[in-house]
Structures are given as structure tokens and as C-alpha cells.
């Protein structure tokens, strides 16, 4: 992958998280501890600050470094979850992946996230976005993944949280979008836009 694409992906992801940090925090205040927006912003700012050296690395190495940054900087439970996702991708991808290869890498990375969070779909987490997006990608290709991610995040609204801080609320978690599902849909839509353009 060329440097310009890598740079565009990193900068777009970081800008999208920064622009939506307040929204993510508001979602997290409803059913969690209210730090998701701030935590994600801190993590992606650290990644963006490192962009000059990140773009010089081969894609797997770049993804691994981003994953480590997120683990170290995001905090909360989302740090290890997003960190595991990026480190999982890094393990399975080459420097110039085909769409099919990237899709398979995402499948493996999602398995690692499931193990890290001891979670499955239907529990009101980021998996409720990642899993349907990967499935759609595998069956129809990479077109329109941003829209699929957005719809999937909306579908977490009526779900009852089974994992994470929101699970303490039981039925009261119903009626709110999961903050992790929202940040995932935001990242997917942003990255898909860059790759399609």
C-alpha cells in the first residue's frame, strides 16, 4: 500500500474520531462510564501524531504499531478491544492485500476481539457492527460497507447489554446505541470512504 493511502486512512480516522468524540461520550454517559469519546480521541491523536513514521512501515507493521498505540493510550475496555482488532489484522495481512485477503484478515481479527472481550454478537458491543460488516464484505464485496455499518450500529439500540459496564443496567441499557458499535461504524464508514475515493 502506498504512503499517501496510508496517510489518508490514518488522518481520516483520527479526524472522524475527534469530530465525533462528544457524541461518543454522550452515548457512553447513557449506558456506560462516559469516557469513550475522550478515550478514543486520546488514542487516535497518539496514532495521528506518529503518522510520519507509520506510513514508512509495511502495512502489517503499521497496523501492529497502531494496535499497540491504541492499547497503551485508549484505556477503558475499548483500548484492548480495538488494539486486538488492529494487531489481529496485522497478523493476517500482506503489504498490498486484495479485497478478499483484507476481508479474511478482518474475519480472523474479529475472532481475536471476541476472545479478548469473551463476547459474541447480540450482546450490544462493537461486534454487532464488525461481524455483519465482515459478512457483507465476504458475500457482496467492499461496496457500501459504511452504510451497512451505520445500520448495524442502529440495530444495537433495542439490544440489551450482556457485556461491559452497560450490562450493569440490565433492561435499562435498551433504547440506547452502544458507544463501541458507534465508534466502529464511524471508523468503518470513514476508512471505506477513503479506500473508495
Amino acid at each position: 500500500m502506498d504512503r499517501e493511502t496510508k496517510r489518508a486512512l490514518i488522518e481520516a480516522a483520527s479526524a472522524a474520531i475527534a469530530a465525533h468524540a462528544d457524541e461518543l461520550t454522550t452515548l457512553d454517559q447513557a449506558i456506560g462510564d462516559g469516557d469513550h469519546g475522550h478515550n478514543m480521541k486520546r488514542g487516535f491523536e497518539a496514532v495521528a501524531a506518529d503518522v510520519a513514521s507509520l506510513v514508512e512501515r509495511p502495512l502489517p507493521d503499521m497496523l501492529k504499531t497502531i494496535g499497540t498505540q491504541l492499547v497503551m493510550k485508549v484505556g477503558g475496555a475499548s483500548g484492548p478491544l480495538y488494539g486486538t482488532l488492529f494487531m489481529g489484522l496485522a497478523k493476517e495481512i500482506s503489504d498490498n492485500p486484495t479485497s478478499e485477503e483484507a476481508c479474511r484478515a478482518l474475519e480472523k481479527a474479529i475472532e481475536a476481539v471476541k476472545a479478548r472481550g469473551k463476547s459474541e454478537t447480540g450482546q450490544k458491543t462493537l461486534l454487532d457492527v464488525l461481524v455483519p460488516v465482515q459478512a457483507a464484505w465476504a458475500s457482496h464485496g467492499p461496496k457500501g460497507l459504511g452504510e451497512i455499518a451505520k445500520i448495524a450500529a442502529e440495530k444495537t439500540v433495542p439490544m440489551k447489554a450482556i457485556r461491559g459496564r452497560a450490562s450493569f443496567l440490565g433492561d435499562r441499557s435498551i433504547g440506547h446505541m452502544d458507544p463501541g458499535a458507534r465508534s466502529s461504524s464511524l471508523l468503518i464508514a470513514t476508512l471505506a470512504d477513503v479506500l473508495e475515493s
Binding site: 486520546r42 492499547v71 477503558g76 483500548g79 484492548p80 457485556r163 459496564r165
Partner: protein
């Protein structure tokens, strides 16, 4: 053989420090002890790098038992353990126990020279 070390990981620096104070009152200097709380901005949260440093600070050849509070503390502790040497990973146990009571019981057990699996088991008996 050295006694098992205890690491306390809370979202709150004050809880972590307070729990550590209670452990020290109970067992004095007989077990290696470290605590960490708060994120890298000084707010509530947990930090993988700080957890790794706490494990290092409380390291014992007999191993280390980690006590955590809420979910993110557990997930971040698991991540911290996986980022250490494989040889060390096998000698670290994250206890499914209440943080204050678990830390005091685990440390008391450790101060008697019990091995890591027994220290963990005693702490976890608090969650029957």
C-alpha cells in the same frame, strides 16, 4: 522461595492506594505489593503500561496475583500480561474476586508462603 506478589488494579488511583494500605496493614513488608489506578491523563480508568510496570514492581519468582475492579481493569490486565515474556505469563494470575477483600485475603495467604494457585483460590472463594 519468595512469597507471591500482589498487584492491585483499580479505575481509581485512590481505591488502588487505599486497598494497598489495607494490605500493608495486614501483612507489612512480607509480600511484594504494587498498585495502579487511573488512566494516562490522571482520570478514572486503567492503563496497560502502568499495569505492566506494577507487575514488574511486585514481581516475585513465586508469581504475582492481580486483583481488579470493573471490566476494563480485567481486560487491560489480561492485555498487560500477554505483553510480558511468555515465561512470566504463566506465573501471573488475575483473580476473579472483589478488589479490597480479595487483595487482603490474597496477601494474607501469600504471606504464609502459599503458592500462586492457592493464593488465587482463596481470593476467589469470596465470590462463591
Amino acid at each position: 522461595m519468595a512469597n507471591v506478589g500482589i498487584v492491585i488494579v483499580s479505575h481509581s488511583a485512590k481505591i488502588a492506594e487505599g486497598a494497598a494500605d489495607m494490605v500493608r496493614q495486614m501483612v507489612g513488608e512480607s509480600v511484594p505489593l504494587a498498585f495502579t489506578g487511573g488512566n494516562s491523563d490522571g482520570g478514572l480508568g486503567t492503563d496497560v503500561g502502568q499495569i505492566m510496570a506494577a507487575i514488574e514492581a511486585a514481581w516475585s519468582e513465586a508469581g504475582v496475583a492481580i486483583l481488579v475492579d470493573l471490566g476494563g481493569a480485567e481486560t487491560n490486565s489480561e492485555m498487560a500480561v500477554e505483553m510480558l515474556d511468555e515465561a512470566r505469563q504463566k506465573r501471573i494470575a488475575i483473580c476473579n474476586a472483589p478488589i479490597v477483600e480479595g487483595a487482603v485475603i490474597a496477601a494474607t495467604e501469600a504471606s504464609g508462603g502459599s503458592p500462586l494457585d492457592i493464593v488465587k483460590q482463596m481470593a476467589e472463594e469470596l465470590y462463591p
